[in-house]
Structure formats: C-alpha cells, structure tokens
C-alpha cells in the first residue's frame, strides 16, 4: 500500500522483546499508583474540595495515555491514523460532554 506509515517494517518489535514485558509491568505499576492516589484524595480528604475534580481528571488522563501508548501500542510505528482518529474522537467527546453537563 502507498502509505508510508502502513508499511510497518518487520523489524520493530520492541514491544515483544522481554524488556517490553518490563515496560508493561512498570506502566501497570504506574496505573496502580495513580488509582490509589485518586482513591486516597477522596477518602482521606487531603486536598481542597474544589481541587478534587481536576486532580481526578488529571490522574485518569495519565492512565489513559499509559493504556493507549503502552498496552494498546500507539507508541509503535504505523499507528498515525489510529492516533489521529482516537484523539479527534476525544476532542469531540470532551466538547460534547462538557456541553451537555454545563448547559
């Protein structure tokens, strides 16, 4: 096919070498930490109430990025289209959801 990105050359397998397993575990650990942090700020009442929502959204967003780029392999070559479409979707989703909630 014509598109450069689609021709993922056979030799970029970082994600499946043993050290990529390591990477997965590290990012998993990060997700656990973020999750725990989210629960912590809510259950333990350590931050100002109006900071909770922004923080929750922040933690969740990092988790999403981790999932997308490590577990779902968007960090690899040949995924430009996936990334473009997912993030366009995210922008539209955010605009729509915020619209619905605020109005």
């Amino acid at each position: 096919m014509t598109e450069e990105q689609q021709n993922s050359s056979p030799q970029q397998e970082e994600s499946h070498k043993p050290d990529s397993t390591m990477k997965h575990i590290v990012s998993f650990a990060a997700m656990i930490v973020l999750t725990v942090a989210a629960f912590y700020i809510v259950m333990e009442d350590v931050v100002e109430p109006n900071m909770i929502l922004p923080l929750l959204l922040f933690f969740a967003s990092i988790q999403v990025v981790l999932q997308l780029f490590t577990f779902m392999h968007l960090n690899q070559k040949g995924t430009a289209y996936y990334t473009i479409f997912i993030f366009t979707g995210v922008i539209i989703a955010v605009v729509s959801a915020v619209g619905i909630i605020l109005m």
């Binding site: 014509t2 366009t88 979707g89 619209g99 619905i100």
Partner: protein
C-alpha cells in the same frame, strides 16, 4: 425478505428440496442479496434511496396540498404531524444518505484504484441493516400509526404520556437499526480510503469526491454515537420506564435536544459534503480544467467537518441557555461560512478560463451553486441569535434547509446520477429528458421554497397543519404549492429516464463518455467485478488526465497480471438484518418482548457463524481476465 418469503412459500407447498435450493442459489435475486461486491451494494443503496425519495416526495406533496389554502381539512392534527415527521425522517435518513452511500460505494473504490472495499462483508451488513431500519420505519403507517413528534422527536412530546401509540417506537428502533448500518458503512469507507489506495495514490492526489467521502465518513463515525445514545435513552424511557427525559422524575428534555443536535448538525454536513465532492468532480470535468485550489478545497472540507461538531447549539438558541452560550455558538457557526466560501469561489474559478459543456450533469452542478449559496446565506442569517429568536421554528428555517438539502444535496445527487450513471449501469441516461427534468425541477424548486422565506417572516410557524386567512399568508402558500408541480414533473421525467435506460435503450455506454479525469473512467462501464485487471500506478492528481496529457491510452500498471483474490458472497448479513428486523418489530409490539429477544438470538447465532467461518474467498485467474479484456475491446 423476498427470499425468506420464497422459502416459506416453498416449504408450505411441499416443494422444499435440494433442487429448489440450487435454483434459488443460482438466481439473480439470490446473487444480489448475498453479494459483497461494492458496486452491486452501491446500486442497491442508490435504488432504495430513489424509492424512499419517491415516498418522501409523496409525503411532501401531501403536506403542500394541505397547506395550499387556509383552513384546509385534508390532513388535520395528528395525521399531518405523522406525514411531516415521516417526510423529514425519510428524506434525510432513507433518501439522501443511501443515495450518497450508493454513489460512494460504487465510485470511491474505483477512484482510488482499489479492487474492493476494506470490509466487503460489513459493507453488505451495513446495507441490510439500513434496509431493515427503513422498512421498520415505513411499516409504521400500516401498524399503529407513524411517529408524529417531528424528525427531531423532541421530548416530552415523544414520551409515552404524550405519544401513547407505537409511532415513536418505530422512529426509535428504525433509526437505531439503520443508524448502526450507517456507522458500519462509515467505518468501511474510512478503512477503504486509508488502506486500499493503489500505489502512487497519495492522500493529496485523491479526487475530491473521495476526500469528501472520507470526511463525511469521519463525521458519521463521531456523530452517529450521539444519536445512538439518544435513541437508546429514549427507548429506555418509553419501553422500560426509565426517567431520562421526564422532568417530574428529575429528567431533562434539554438533554435530548443536546444529544440529538450533537448528532444532528454533523448530520447535515454528512449529506452536503459528498455533494460538494460531486460538484468538484463535475465542474472540473465539464470545464475541462483542473480543479482550482485543490489543496485549499481539501483543507476546507476537513475544516467544515471539524467545525461541524462545535456548533450544535445554534438549533437551541431559543432554549434560553443564556447569552454567553448563544454568542459562542453563534460565532462558531458563522465561521463555517468561510471554508464553505472557499469552496464556492474555487468552483467559480475552476470554470473561469475553462471550456464549459452544459451537459445535464453540469446543468445540475451549475444550478447548485446559486441555490446553495442562497441557502448558506440564510444559514448565516440564522446564526445570529437575536434574529434567530424570530426565525426559529418558522418557515424561514424550512426555506433555509430546503435550499441546502434540496438545492444542495438533491441537486448534487441528480448531477452525480447523470455523471456516473454509465459507470454504474453501463448505460447512458437521456440528455434531453434530463434537461427537461432539470428545468422543471429547478424552477419548481425555487417557486416552492423561495416564497417560504416570507411565510416565516410574516409569522407562520413551521409544523402547523393550517393557518389563518387574511393575514397575508394565502397567496404565498398557494405559490409554494404550485411549485411542487414542477418538482413532480421533473421527478417523473427522471423515473422515465431510468426506465428507458435500463429496459429500453440497448446501446452500451463507453468507458469514458465525458472525457473524464479520474481513475474510474479508465475502466469499462460497468467495471468488471475485480475493477482493475492490474492495479494502476498513479502519477499525479487527476490520475487519468495525467496519462491523457502524456499521450497514453492506458494506465501504467503497478503490478504484473496475476490471479486476483475475491471475497466470497455471504447470506449472513441478510440473516443478521432479518434478526434485527424481527427484534425491532418485537420491541415495538411490546408485550413480553419474546419476539424481540428471539430476533437478537438470530443475530447472535449469525455472528457466531461468521466468527467461526473460514472464508478464503476465491480467485480469478489471469486467463479469465484476458478473456474479459478481449470481449471488451
């Protein structure tokens, strides 16, 4: 449906045997119903679109008849509301969209030099889902009454309490099912355009129709889910006692408006963008000139698509969301005028310095430009919130959207029909009849809808079945109804034209009747099932024109002649569609929903069968291809 009926009939008559099965499998009907060939699916989309256009048009005629004179009592109250709801719903979802999908299906793979679409099976599934949904919607006339809450189906009017009949259930389930079909088609087009282009067909060499299909499909992808959610919630409210929209239980009717318009506004661009693409192709071809400002056209298309998601609140200016929201969305809406303007001027300057041939296709394109511009202008006027407080839900809006929907989308579709008919059917449409159709429809159109601007400004709300005498509305309404005669004549001429071309005219269309510029004109009309014997190598924008300028007769192949892999046809999409059809009707019938669940089980089984099926398709060998070529030459 026909096949199922045939089966049943055969069983009843005791004639069910192997022989019969063989005969059915060999029949043309079976061939079409199980086909995964994008060209055949395209033709089926197009033809069902025409049928639904006639039904929607008939409903329009009834609307205009009722409104011809004040205090008319032809269709009063609920009946009128049913007609108007079905008119809008049918025209948008069952006429405009499938007509465009049909064209996209046939043409886009050819334009990008592909043998097939990315998901032939899903393509067929999308078509049959759409058909199932369309049939469900129209069955409402015969079983319990059509939906009557407008094509926007605003709650709480659409809730059980105020629409107790099954009408709105038909709307909810019919649209849900055909909507899933559209979403599937959208994904198919996107994947096809991304993955299936022939060597050399880079993104910035794609014809504009392909580009607009791409962007429109992306809009489908992101807009359809909002409708899906809206319809799901409405179904929960109506069938399962949920309270999303019932304010006495904390629900909100504004929520429905948001969900509907988050879908609804992109939807109008879904139906206009492909028309823009069609226009770009036709104007360029019949001006014998390269499209002016190709890159900015592409850019404008993408921008319109993106902005399309940021403006939905302009349908809700009168909801009282406050001046801040209204202002933001007003400015965003106006902004869309800029990329659209870029398109209009690029068309004009494509013709500038060209050699314009007024074929029927070109006439439609030429008629499109001023008509659509008027519609766009009234659009910008509507985008001014204080002024919209006056226009909203008046006939001014009706005039606006018919100028863009009929003057834009429908004119574009007619243009495309004349332009691509030879490629789709291997026959030509009659130019004289076509010109007759153009002039009657064009004049009738303006006569009908231009005066409606004034109806609105003189205080006539839309969706009313009657109006008062002596307040200055009679003569305008009469004029508006008279115009429909023109459109009816034109449509009838089109019907005759189709009949003539398919059943009477025996001459075959040449491969390239219009001195075309893009790849679809490089192969025979209609194309063989594998499209291209050898995938072409594309060496520039207007791929065929580039070769013509280089003095070549044929495209440069990008691969040696070899055996071609084809997907095998499948009856499963049809079975799945029958499953959802039964399910939809079951839920509409309410009761214990056993039929609804039964339908879903059919769907589930078919999905399993598909998942476990090992389908390697089949191959067409070079010898056969050579033979085809021989016949054609």
């Amino acid at each position: 449906m026909v096949v199922v009926a045939l089966f049943l009939a055969a069983i009843v008559l005791g004639g069910y045997n192997k022989n019969f099965l063989e005969r059915v499998k060999g029949s043309t009907v079976w061939d079409w119903m199980t086909t995964v060939d994008h060209k055949k699916i395209g033709i089926m989309y197009f033809m069902s679109g025409i049928v639904f256009f006639l039904i929607g048009g008939l409903e329009a005629i009834l609307i205009r008849l009722q409104l011809m004179v004040p205090a008319n009592d032809l269709f009063v109250g609920d009946i009128y509301n049913q007609i108007l709801t079905m008119h809008g719903t049918t025209m948008i979802f069952l006429a405009a969209m499938p007509l465009l999908f049909g064209l996209m299906n046939v043409i886009v793979p050819l334009q990008i030099g592909a043998r097939d679409v990315a998901f032939p099976f899903l393509n067929s599934l999308g078509f049959w889902f759409f058909t199932a949904g369309g049939i469900i919607l129209n069955l409402s006339w015969f079983f319990g009454g059509a939906p009557d809450a407008g094509w926007t189906s605003y709650v709480s009017l659409a809730l059980n309490e105020y629409s107790p009949g099954p009408g709105v259930d038909y709307y909810v389930l019919g649209l849900q099912i055909s909507g899933i079909g559209s979403l599937i088609s959208g994904i198919n087009f996107l994947a096809t355009i991304i993955n299936m282009r022939t060597p050399g067909m880079t993104l910035l060499r794609m014809p504009l129709f392909t580009w607009t299909t791409f962007v429109a499909s992306a809009l489908l992808l992101f807009a359809m889910p909002a409708l899906t959610v809206g319809l799901l919630l409405l179904m929960f409210d109506r069938l399962f006692g949920a309270n999303f929209f019932d304010y006495t239980m904390g629900g909100s009717s504004v929520l429905w408006e948001h969900l509907f318009w988050i879908f609804g506004h992109p939807e109008v661009y879904i139906v206009i963008l492909p028309a823009f693409g069609i226009l770009s192709e036709i104007i360029s071809t019949f001006s014998k000139k390269r499209l002016f400002g190709y890159t900015s056209m592409v850019f404008a298309t993408v921008l319109i698509g993106f902005l399309g998601f940021m403006v939905w609140v302009h349908h809700m200016f009168t909801v009282g969301l406050g001046p801040v929201s209204n202002s933001i969305f007003a400015v965003a809406t106006m902004a869309i005028g800029v990329p659209t303007g870029i398109k209009v001027f690029n068309w004009l300057f494509t013709m500038w310095g060209g050699e314009i041939r007024f074929t029927t296709a070109m006439l439609w394109a030429v008629g499109f430009i001023p008509t659509f511009v008027v519609g766009g202008m009234t659009g910008v006027m509507l985008a001014v919130p204080p002024a919209d407080f006056q226009y909203h839900d008046s006939y001014f809006v009706v005039a606006h959207f018919h100028y863009v929907l009929v003057g834009g989308t429908v004119f574009g579709i007619f243009a495309a029909a004349f332009y691509w008919w030879p490629k789709m059917f291997g026959k030509m449409l009659h130019e004289g009849l076509g010109k007759f159709q153009f002039w009657t429809f064009f004049i009738g159109f303006h006569l009908t809808f231009f005066p409606q601007h004034f109806l609105g400004l003189f205080g006539m709300p839309r969706r009313v079945f009657t109006y008062q005498a002596n307040v200055g509305l009679e003569s305008i309404n009469m004029l508006s109804t008279i115009g429909v005669i023109g459109m009816t004549l034109g449509t009838l001429a089109f019907g005759i034209n189709i009949y003539r071309s398919l059943f009477i005219d025996k001459t075959k269309a040449p491969a390239d009747p219009w001195n075309g510029r893009t790849l679809e004109w490089a192969i025979s009309s209609p194309p063989p099932e594998y499209n291209f014997a050898q995938l072409p190598l594309v060496r520039g924008y207007d791929a065929l024109w580039v070769e013509k300028e280089a003095g070549k007769k044929e495209l440069t192949p990008a691969e040696p002649l070899g055996s071609i892999h084809m997907p095998s046809s499948s009856y499963l999409p049809l079975v799945m569609a029958i499953g959802v059809f039964i399910s939809g009707m079951g839920f509409i019938a309410r009761g214990d929903y056993s039929m609804g669940i039964f339908g879903l089980i059919i769907l589930g089984i078919a999905m399993f069968m598909r998942s476990f099926e090992v389908d390697h398709g089949y191959h067409i060998e070079p010898e056969e291809i050579e033979k085809d070529k021989g016949v054609d030459a």
